[in-house]
Symmetry: C2
Subunit: 424 residues, 2 copies
């Protein structure tokens, strides 16, 4: 509905503007990619929608080589590999597009939804300062969205990988997925999942979960002896946190949390997750991380990167459910110019035209109805202002300006209408 | 590429802002609709992409009930019918979305493209004033896009239908399609197509084409005796043109042209087509019209409407080909803050932060490279400004502000940087 879409448009505008303010350039990739590009990453294929022409013809079953993208990371990897020679590195791109997943729609899951991604991709190498910049962009977005307090929680995958290595855990990727659920399902279930799904011994599982439950900050992380890989992870995380402070990110806007794992295999360093402080039930509203090599499926160039993604459709739906945001007006226009006498149409149109020229979105009522019906329409749609003028007022060069929120009504010289509205 | 997408974003912003300035509210319908909704209109089914899950499972061939929409009119009709009770009429909506057509891509044809539609839909009736407003919205869009002179050409379908009735032509819909090609293929081909594809006699075809080639304006149209339907068409067209003048649309921005037919069957009154005066080879850049009943497939309510559509992807591609517009910078940011000494990172970040707070999109260079490499990067990406500061300048509370377009460089107090940039 328009009131919901207007809210979504406002959010999209904030996201776009914030991304651009940090120098991220927009790209757009086709929603329709070759199947071989999409299937390359070992994703769940039944979640991918393939395309065929609706009507088959003789000698043509209608099938095509194409499918709909299910995220923006795979198309971005294909894009960077394909346009490598034309891009300037570090390549900073944002991408705001719909993606599709062939799952049965259910609460909080959508067949079709907006993703809003930023990534910084280096050619050969990429400084850790980029890992510090990403949360600052996200902070700017959510602060402007005005959705209450939020914390960007961070970890470095090498810390977990190092711990697991040190404990002799043999299937770290599986263990990572088990650990990722810690906050959601609790220690007991993670312990059993580590043994069952990741093949650890009870002692390994116990040691890992105990460490993660201790609630470490950077200082206590540095005192633990977790081996070489662990030490590198802690050092990277320290550098990123120094960067965050240099960026001026408020201390209460981020937190180090060694239990953040992220399910996806391709993260190799920093990982992020973002939660609403007063609405933990909403879950992570934005997540991402650092990967060593974005496009290894498509090119021999080594392209390390760091990025983050906002699942806007899901976020907005949860914000609405939790009543953190609410849809407002059904119209993007502030003012409705009513029409009392058709003979004076040119006057009404001139008034509407002047307001628009001044940047005040304005609708002119177009149907031959009585003033009462026009004002009812204005109320239903949620206009802030109505401009009303009969033969008499127009003859005197005046109009009535009615504030539909307060009911206040006053006569204003036609020539002063714009400034009267701008003055409030 | 980013420079092309930035141009497209600028156009999308102009379109969105103009639509909203006239009080059109955004809606968005899913790209994925039920096949039965899309197939209801008798379109070319092989142009519709149907969806199936990429990997089939046992007992499930992966097929679905869904397909991708091929225009925004059919989904809008479904939407208005479905949400009838929740909408306020006249319902003014805009819709900017991608659509898909399963044709083989070729010059000027795309598999996937943006359409930007506005429609005003009435409940039961809709005043002709709306037919006059639509071209004014389009005029505002193209004027701001700054794409040179353009003319919105208009006709009323009843004029052509009346003429055909009067001449005894029995298949007016087919004749309409033949006439629609007049400007493109010339009189001779239209004459033969009228006889061959629309079953007219040579005399009927001759009379129709002769009339259309005479180049009528409103005055000469009123003098012709074309029967009842024709007279109603001329009267409607006169009323719409009076409306255009009341709206203040410049006389050279529109033209009456009785040969405008539009291929689509569902138009029943006003029809529009828009051409670039200095680039007729680009073809129509925006077209639409009035229909008596938008959603007869989906509801018993009578919902007359008038609308127009900009095929942005095609338009932009043609504007680029004709060099009417050109891609500019590869970055949305104006300024690059370079980093000469990492020890002063907090200073550089504070500068970037201040510029961003002031609404100046700013990128901070993140890699540990020499100043020369950073300035080369700035040139390649097309930044307008570079901020340069070493230990010495920062110690004095100064920075160098370099204009990368002119090469001009000057020292500015850190505290005055924003105002120096804003002053130009």
């Amino acid at each position: 509905l328009p009131e919901e879409k207007l809210l979504e448009e406002r959010m999209l505008r904030i996201i776009r503007t914030s991304f651009e303010r940090f120098g991220f350039a927009p790209i757009e990739t086709p929603a329709v990619e070759r199947k071989e590009v999409l299937a390359a990453k070992g994703v769940v294929e039944k979640e991918i929608y393939a395309l065929s022409r609706l009507a088959a013809e003789e000698g043509d079953d209608g099938s095509t080589d194409f499918a709909l993208h299910f995220d923006l990371t795979v198309p971005a990897a294909r894009y960077v590999a394909q346009h490598f020679g034309k891009l300037t590195f570090p390549f900073r791109r944002y991408q705001i597009q719909k993606v599709w997943r062939g799952e049965r729609p259910q609460a909080g899951r959508f067949r079709e939804f907006y993703q809003c991604d930023i990534d910084i991709v280096g050619n050969g190498s990429l400084d850790l300062l980029n890992d510090a910049e990403i949360p600052c962009v996200i902070h700017a977005v959510f602060r402007e969205m005005d959705i209450g307090r939020f914390v960007i929680r961070m970890n470095n995958r090498k810390i977990l990988t190092g711990l697991m290595e040190n404990l002799g855990i043999e299937r770290p990727a599986d263990a990572m997925r088990a650990v990722d659920a810690l906050e959601k399902v609790g220690a007991e279930k993670v312990l059993s999942s580590l043994e069952k799904d990741a093949g650890t011994t009870p002692a390994q599982a116990q040691a890992l979960v105990e460490f993660l439950q201790k609630g470490h900050d950077l200082a206590t992380l540095t005192t633990h002896d977790g081996g070489e890989m662990y030490r590198r992870g802690v050092a990277e995380l320290e550098e990123v946190v120094r960067g965050l402070r240099a960026f001026g990110l408020p201390e209460d806007a981020f937190a180090v949390d060694p239990s953040i794992a992220r399910g996806l295999d391709y993260y190799t360093g920093t990982v992020y997750e973002t939660k609403l402080v007063d609405h933990p039930e909403v879950g992570s509203i934005c997540s991402g991380g650092r990967y060593d090599d974005l496009a290894s499926n498509y090119t021999k160039q080594t392209l390390p990167g760091v990025g983050i993604s906002i699942g806007l459709t899901r976020l907005l739906s949860r914000l609405l459910d939790a009543k953190i945001v609410a849809p407002g007006s059904k119209t993007p226009a502030r003012a409705l110019v009513t029409v009392m006498t058709r003979d004076r149409l040119a006057d009404y149109l001139a008034i509407a035209g002047e307001l628009r020229e001044a940047g005040i979105a304005t609708e002119l009522y177009t149907e031959p109805k009585k003033l009462g019906a026009q004002l009812k329409y204005a109320d239903q749609k949620g206009f802030e202002l109505a401009v009303i003028a009969g033969e008499d007022e127009l003859g005197r060069g005046e109009v009535q300006l009615k504030n539909l929120k307060t009911g206040e009504q006053r006569n204003v010289a036609k020539a002063d209408l714009v400034s009267a509205i701008e003055a409030g």
